[in-house]
Amino acid sequence: MPTGRMPVKLTDAQIEEIGRELDAMRHEVIESRGDRDRRYIRNVIKSQRGLALGGRVIILASILFLPAWGHGLATYTVFLSLLVFGAFCLGLAKIIENMEIAHNVMHAQWDWMMDEDVQSATWEWDNVCASAEWKVSHNFKHHTWTNVLGKDPDVGYGMLRVSPEQRWKPYYLGQPIYALILAVFFEWAIAIQGLELGRVFAGKTTLRQIRSQVVMTVKKMAAQIMKDYVLWPLLVVALMIPFAFSGYGPALLAVFLWVLAANGAANLFRNFWTYLIIFCGHFPGDVYVFTKKQVEDETRARWYVRQLLASCNIRSGKFLNFLSGNLSHQIEHHLFPDLPSNRYQELAPRVRAMADRFELPYNTGSLIRQFGSTVWKILRLSFPGGASLGMKWEFKTWNEQQESTES
């Protein structure tokens, strides 16, 4: 098999060795999973639920400080600081749930515990995208076909040109705006993207065929909307009704809207943060993209190498690791998607050293650098060209030569 299909100067033997080394790392972690890992994820889950509940209670409590109450502390300063703080806690809880818990649980990272409360098959997350849908588009498509143009749904999310290899169309001129809209509605975009409505428009499938998926997604969205934008605001309103009857306290409509706004802010906060982290995973700087041809008959070892070339880490400490759901170790996550996320940190130096030995790139940088380069790419690639962005040029030409000699 011609090594030329990979944008790397490695022999088949070297690639197979990389495969063996990474398999060995994986095996070591699997063998050493134990009580400490169980304690870790259980504590995270417990604290996250406490935080979510706490956030909602603080939002509720903030309503008691609306100026309309007329008591000494009832000022907008007190009210708004509490409301914002509550929304912040709730948003943080949603971030932790989505990233460090749900994303990883759904990757089957914790299935080995045999704990029926923490299983990939049954976990439903606090997000408008139905878990079942997500597992197909993310675990299967994205993780199998990472950065393969036309196969990985996450290359630009079907909306953006994030790599010069994507052919430019005038549509991309507006992509800075699309990117912004995507950030605001990130969870919605992902939920809708999972349905692959494009295939319906292209006539590759019919609405009828994807009916059950659509129904599932709509139900999931409805449940999320119901909870954050109807039931919780109504509950707070209900608690205020006795006061309203006595002609005391704030207007019920205002209460409803404030709580709704706080919940909306929490969701927005989560959307922005997940967008930020996820865009740093595969788009920054000189990350690689691949053509379908390059991944034909790919071996497991080659899949590993592709994952390494297609993913980017964020240089981070414990705090950022946690808040990014350990996606600051995107490379390790892509090499070992089903190993417990708390272990990526200890794998990272080994993976990095190995990459270095084989003269493979290991794309890492500060959050600012990684996101900055992503933003720059989105701006630059809204215009035609931009080939010098991204892939290492000499590899690419070398690789193209190989492909042209082949054909």
Partner: protein, 370 residues
Amino acid sequence: MKAALQKSSFLSRVASIPRLFAYPLRISNYLELINPLWSSHRLMARVVKVWDETKNARTLTLRPGRHWKPHRAGQYVSIRIPVAGKLETRYYTISSPPERTDGCFTITVKAVEGGRGSHSLVRDLRVGAYLPIGLPDGDFVLPDPVPEKLLFITGGIGITPAMSMLGSLIARKCLPDSVHLHYSPNEFEVVFDRQLKEMARTHPQYRLARVFTRPADGIASLNEGHFSPAQLDKLCPDWKDREVFACGPETMLTALTTHFERTRMAAKLHLERFGFGPLNVPVEGVGGHVRLVKSGLEVEADASTNLLRVAEQAGLKPKHGCRQGICHTCNVRLISGSVRDLRTGKIFDDLGGPVQICVSAAAGNCELDL
């Protein structure tokens, strides 16, 4: 009829509204944060006391959660024990009588040589720990009405159901004429020794005969050594008049069944086995018989063909994605037996756990939830 149906579905909708507040979780997920015993989606028990009965047998007093149902004397309960982070399921007979009034029950566990689950229960578990448990189950229980004459034959830790039954009979003040043959290696390893002696002292209708199978000074009398018909005749001459309840090691139960069958008394013998069936030992390089339970298919599989392929060849279309072990779309529950991970060669035999069928092959017989 139709109206009633509509009404009940309306009511069930109303009843499910609280859950929508907690969506996608349940209210119970938040209640258990405050107290795991309040959870309704899974039953938990709190360890409230540990007590060593012998040097390696320990009684754990457990307080079950809200949705517990009282057991019948002789029944067992499933307990999930974290062993190296993994919840393993074990079954233990409840050793306390259901008449116990403090809402707790006890199990008595012997640390089995090499048994990781029992070792973790006996040595590692602390007061205050919480364990997921199941509801009481099993039909090794006393008939109603209580027979006029009873004989308990127990060996080692197999004494637990008898203990619960005796405790229950005494609490209900209806302990009949009972003989209890209890086998243990020596006098120091009699589980519940003091309680048994106390019971014999205070209840004249209860006669205890302890038999030692490995006494320090060698086997000298019929009060020593493993079960034999002669021993039974001597220690309980009227055994044929009694309803017999026996629990203990497999060898003891086999000897008992043989004897009772030969003497045509099998109808009077009630057994509880606590050993596992013959273990499924996978052999290197050999496939096995695969039963696809949901679809009712049975196929032979070799040791190198992945089970996704096997199922497809049998005409099924299991869910799958990458076919190379990345996405876990193909996960299927293992009902029994074991499989081998083709990437690592590792055997997987966590019953109830997920098998990645695209990268697993048969290793001995197995049953899959497909």
